[in-house]
């Protein structure tokens, strides 16, 4: 290979006048020992024979020498640079400030992206055993049960947004995880209020009062007054229109089923620290204790788990609920921090 690469070939190669095969042989020739130095020697000769600029080496040499001397003396170096070096430094400095500006902007964008939730949304959370009432900018009031969170737009809540299909979506929208009771104000322009839940159930409201239970084990909506429209993830499922006294439950297949409940308000009795049970098995009460107070409940006896409670009771904290249950069922319980076990 090497013998077909000579100075003439390399000169043609530098001028871009070689065949791809010749270029390939130049590449393998470059691998040879010492050929890199030869390559640069010939590149230098090639360059010397077709210089493109005139430049004063004495000037450049003097400049570099004074730069050397000044850098030894310290920071005054910049001052004594000839004019052109100064423009070079100014240019570098401008580039640098652009760089800083750009990186700041990038940092902001990244932070904005990372904290976009905090930036664009306001999230209200309740801890275990805590309920909280809040009023939205549109005048609607919402009461959050324990261990729940509600998220809505910090800016632009109650406005409209244009969707890609040219329709408008109401930004009077909240996202709920947990349990909440809603009293939605009806607006003069009939703008709908929308509640989104993690399991894909969306509640469209004009102005009404209803309660949403949207936790891991179930999604339920109970309507007290007015009317609301429910949609689920299922695309081909028709929206469900609810009337007062209706209870909608999302079943395991992800479909919404409608039943009647004589007392829809009992689903929100937690607002007044009340617990309304209607033939509610202890198993389900254990779920409620876990959801509302973060308790891990163990029921030793399966028969015990099936015993039911009916009635409405007031309890301000977890211990009061536990005592109440123990009294009603005539059973014992032991509590160790967040661990509770019921025994006969």
């Amino acid at each position: 290979m090497e013998d077909i690469v000579n100075k003439a070939v390399l000169f043609d190669y530098f001028s871009g006048r070689v065949s791809p095969l010749q270029k390939k042989s130049v590449e393998s020739w470059l691998d040879g020992a010492g050929n890199r130095d030869l390559y640069y020697q010939w590149l230098h000769e090639w360059e010397m024979s077709r210089l493109q600029v005139t430049a004063n080496w004495q000037y450049a040499y003097g400049k570099t020498m004074s730069r050397m001397n000044n850098s030894a003396d310290g920071p005054q170096m910049e001052k004594q640079q000839p004019n052109r070096r100064e423009t070079g430094i100014v240019r570098q400095w401008i580039n640098r400030s652009w760089l800083i500006a750009a990186s700041l902007l990038l940092t902001l964008a990244v932070c904005g992206w990372l904290f976009r939730d905090a930036l664009f949304y306001k999230t209200v959370r309740t801890g275990f055993g805590e309920t909280r009432s809040l009023t939205l900018p549109d005048g609607s009031t919402i009461v959050l049960n324990a261990n729940s969170s509600l998220r809505f737009l910090r800016f632009g809540f109650g406005e409209w947004t244009l969707l890609p299909d040219a329709s408008y979506q109401s930004l009077r929208t909240v996202e709920l995880v947990g349990e909440a009771d809603f009293s939605i104000r009806h607006l003069p322009n009939h703008q709908p209020f929308i509640v989104m839940t993690p399991k894909g159930v969306t509640i469209l409201v004009l102005g009404t009062q209803f309660t949403v239970f949207s936790r891991a084990r179930a999604t339920r909506v109970a309507l007290r007054s007015g009317s609301i429209r429910l949609t689920s993830h299922e695309k081909n499922e028709r929206p469900l229109l609810m009337h007062p006294g209706d209870l909608a439950v999302l079943n395991e297949q992800g479909k919404l089923a409608l039943t009647r409940t004589p007392h829809p308000e009992t689903m929100a009795s937690w607002k007044n620290h009340r617990f309304s049970f209607e033939l509610t098995p202890l198993r389900e009460i254990a779920d409620i204790l876990r959801e509302n107070y973060g308790l891990t409940v163990v029921i030793k006896n399966p028969q015990l788990a099936n015993r039911t409670i009916s009635g409405s009771f007031t309890a301000r904290n977890a211990n009061e609920v536990l005592q109440l249950i123990a009294q009603l069922l005539q059973i014992n319980y032991a509590r160790d921090n967040n661990h509770v076990s019921f025994t006969d």
């Binding site: 530098f14 004495q58 450049a60 894909g200």
Partner: protein
């Protein structure tokens, strides 16, 4: 065999055994490095003086093939010399000064061009390059050669007026307004020609252009 015309087909095998052309005969430097070495033995000042005398001009000429601005080319070459001097690397040159200088200048010129055309100028582009530790493979050497050839080709293929304006701006360091006055053109026309030239040049590095998308979040359901 008689040398063929310059525009003969690339695959003409006659190329390989063609006698040396006129450029080869005007060989100016073969190996003067032993003179440089003895100058360095005398003093660094003397050594650098001979380095500048021998290599400053051809290095600038070579750097210009990449960056197409004489001022930038001279800055790059000057910086390489300055770093060689300041870091004391001239005492530990592995091969020849020539190899060191050309490799360093080409590397910096390549980086400068890449950063200018892809808009990713970083502080490291000009300052924090370790000229002595360049990992040059035959592929990088050829890549650099192809790069300056592509730049040359792009500028060669610019429309005459566009090319003229570009060269006036880059080599004579003229402001757009001055060029407009001299050529009797509107400032906007000159700016358009410059933009066109730069757009063409960008194609040299098109493959590496990256775009930063900043996407703003829409309202979406909470994750289940």
């Amino acid at each position: 065999m008689i040398p063929g015309p310059q525009d003969q087909p690339l695959f003409d095998q006659g190329d390989l055994i063609r006698p040396l052309n006129e450029h080869d005969r005007t060989t100016l430097v073969v190996d003067n490095e032993h003179l440089i070495r003895s100058a360095f033995a005398n003093s660094p000042e003397k050594g650098f003086e001979s380095l500048f005398r021998l290599y400053y001009l051809p290095l600038c000429s070579h750097a210009v093939r990449f960056v197409y601005t004489q001022e930038v080319a001279e800055d790059i070459v000057g910086e390489v010399f300055y770093q060689l001097w300041k870091t004391g690397a001239y005492t530990a040159i592995q091969h020849t000064y020539r190899t060191y200088l050309y490799a360093a200048v080409r590397h910096r010129a390549h980086n400068y061009l890449r950063d200018e055309l892809t808009g990713t100028r970083t502080v490291s582009s000009l300052d924090q390059v370790d000229d002595g530790r360049l990992d040059e493979t035959p592929q990088t050497l050829i890549e650099y050669d192809e790069l300056f050839q592509r730049v040359e080709k792009v500028i060669h293929e610019l429309p005459p007026q566009c090319q003229r304006i570009f060269l006036m701006s880059r080599f004579e360091n003229r402001k757009n307004q001055e060029i407009a006055n001299e050529l009797g053109l509107a400032l906007k026309t000159v700016e358009a020609h410059m933009a066109r030239a730069l757009l063409q040049l960008r194609r040299v590095f098109l493959a590496t252009v990256s775009i930063l998308f900043v996407v703003f979040p829409g309202l979406y359901p909470l994750p289940g």
